[in-house]
């Protein structure tokens, strides 16, 4: 899932500025699961903004709504009137949600309430970790299901650098060395021969380096007549 965290409140207040009517839009998917921008967080942030604006003597009219998925048009259409009524729309979706809202409602002023951090998972309660960098050419089959692109600080493809120490990365003692994990896994699976091959330079065109990406599935597209 996409993992995000809320921006500092001062930054959110700056983004809202002196807008009188604020609509906080939560998202019911990834950011709900990571406790950053779901219905609950939208409610708490809305209350906070209401109270702080009252204390500042410039009370704002803050309302909240949470849609199932901010990244799909059909879920955005149902909040049309609320968006039209607001001076500022504070999105608690990931960067995709913010952009979808801004694109669907070109006249609305849409600002982000979250920082979208990575694609990852819950490791234990309260701890999320990055797992995928969406490089567009998955090599997990060669690395024991552990991604060196997302999890090695140098994105190395041929084993650990000299800074791997006691299972940890040179950048800090909190970060696991991805290549130590890969080595241990392949050793346990009797597949260490995979590490003896030299992996060639990666073709980064499938990653962000190839420009913004797009998938077109002709088998799924609607005929032109139906689209219109």
């Amino acid at each position: 899932m996409i993992v995000a965290e809320q921006k500092p409140i001062a930054e959110i207040q700056t983004l809202i500025g002196d807008a009188k009517r604020v609509l906080v839009v939560g998202c019911g998917t990834c950011v709900t699961v990571c406790f950053a921008g779901g219905e609950k967080e939208a409610g708490i942030l809305g209350s906070l903004l209401r109270m702080s604006s009252q204390m500042d003597g410039n009370a704002k009219d803050v309302s909240e709504v949470t849609v199932q998925r901010q990244c799909e048009w059909e879920y955005l259409d149902v909040i049309k009137d609320k968006v039209a009524d607001a001076n500022v729309v504070l999105s608690l979706g990931c960067g995709i949600g913010v952009q979808a809202l801004a694109e669907r409602y070109p006249n609305a002023l849409v600002v982000p309430g979250l920082n979208t951090t990575f694609m990852g998972m819950l490791q234990e309660q309260g701890v999320w970790v990055e797992r995928c960098a969406a490089c567009g050419n998955c090599m997990l089959g060669l690395t024991g299901g552990i991604c060196p692109i997302a999890r090695c600080s140098k994105q190395l493809l041929n084993g650990p650098c000299g800074g791997s120490s006691k299972g940890k990365c040179e950048i800090n003692s909190e970060t696991d060395c991805a290549w130590q994990l890969i080595y241990d896994k392949l050793k346990a699976q009797n597949r260490l021969h995979l590490l003896m091959e030299i992996n060639p330079p990666k073709d980064w065109r499938t990653s962000r380096d190839g420009g913004p990406r797009k998938i077109v599935r002709e088998d799924l597209r609607l005929p032109a007549a139906e689209k219109a």
């Binding site: 600080s153 140098k154 994105q155 190395l156 493809l157 041929n158 084993g159 650990p160 650098c161 000299g162 800074g163 791997s164 120490s165 006691k166 299972g167 940890k168 990365c169 040179e170 950048i171 800090n172 060395c177 130590q180 080595y183 241990d184 590490l195 003896m196 030299i198 992996n199 060639p200 330079p201 990666k202 980064w204």
Partner: protein, 324 residues
């Protein structure tokens, strides 16, 4: 036979190693400014005491004069450079164009490294590149020479850069069991020589080399053992406790601490520590010479080039051979 009389690059380091001499490389750290005079001064100190000197590439991710610029100045000053190139700051286009330029400026040795992560340096906000890794960089530099082609496969028309290609290995990095194989991979990638991380734990390095020799890797690539004089007990402790992948035994730290004990005068105390550091380094070199598979030493006297003439003299490494 190539135009290099059978040599891959014709560099002095290649000739010394090929002739079977115990090689000596040193290190020249470029300044954090644009002063050419610093390079000339350091080159003058090292000239005649090492077969070639590494020129570091934004070492510890701190901006310094480029290794190629400084390397070209070293060439002019009569000191053969080993230009270091990391994968941190440049993609494959920039690396190859820099390699063409370096060769045109007279550089003949290149050392390929991953590079310290930028979080350690003075621009921790920077984007890191790592388009290719050090293994792939070795392959790329070898390809420019032996395949006469760029990394993409396109032929180089005209003069191709013919470097003596180096790589590094840290015998003390984890996983320990994989390190000899990783060195083998670098040999397979085409590395001509390898310089190791600083060695202070000799038994552990000996075990590493035993495995390397068992694999026959020492016959595919020349291995230069990394050694270096410690300046202070503090530096020894810092390396022991703070630097990932370094192995400094307590015994070495204790020796450095004992050296200055009882000396009141600050200058004399510091001098005593430096003297002990040099002594430890000379002893290490003597031990390295006895380890099967070691073809030379890489002496890293960081910001202490003056130590090189003393160390090489005391270790009986002088005069340096002249190979035609």
């Amino acid at each position: 036979m190539s135009e290099n009389n059978g040599f891959k690059s014709g560099s002095n380091l290649e000739k010394v190693l090929r002739a079977g001499h115990f090689a000596v490389t040193a290190e020249l750290g470029p300044p954090k400014n644009a002063d050419a005079e610093t390079i000339r001064k350091k080159a003058a100190i090292l000239k005649g005491y090492a077969d070639a000197a590494n020129i570091t590439d934004n070492q510890t991710a701190i901006v310094r004069m480029s290794s190629i610029g400084a390397g070209a100045l070293a060439v002019q000053a009569g000191l053969e450079p080993v230009v270091q190139m990391t994968c941190r700051d440049r993609n494959r286009l920039a690396m190859q164009s820099d390699l063409l330029g370096a060769y045109a400026l007279g550089v003949r040795n290149v050392l390929c490294l991953s590079g310290d992560h930028q979080t350690f340096g003075n621009h921790p906000q920077a984007k890191n590149v790592h388009d290719i890794d050090s293994m792939q960089l070795v392959q790329m530099v070898v390809g420019l020479r032996d395949k006469n082609s760029f990394q993409c496969g396109e032929e180089i028309k005209g003069v191709n850069p013919r470097f003596f290609v180096g790589a590094v290995e840290n015998p003390f990095g984890d996983p320990f069991d994989f390190r000899p194989y990783r060195l083998g991979k670098k040999a397979k990638a085409g590395a001509d020589f390898v310089q190791t991380q600083l060695i202070y734990n000799v038994p552990r390095f000996r075990e590493f080399m035993r495995r390397v020799v068992d694999l026959g890797v020492h016959e595919q690539v020349k291995i230069l053992a990394g050694v270096g004089p410690l300046k202070t007990a503090g530096a020894a402790k810092y390396m022991r406790d703070q630097v990932a992948g370094m192995d400094v035994p307590d015994e070495v730290v204790n020796r450095m601490e004992a050296a200055g004990k009882g000396i009141e005068d600050k200058k004399e105390k510091a001098a005593a520590a430096r003297e002990e550091g040099i002594k430890v380094c000379v002893e290490l070199i003597e031990q390295m010479r006895e380890i099967p598979g070691v073809a030379g030493v890489h002496i890293m006297a960081i910001e202490w080039e003056e130590a090189i003439p003393i160390i090489t003299e005391r270790a009986g490494l002088l005069p340096r051979p002249v190979v035609a």
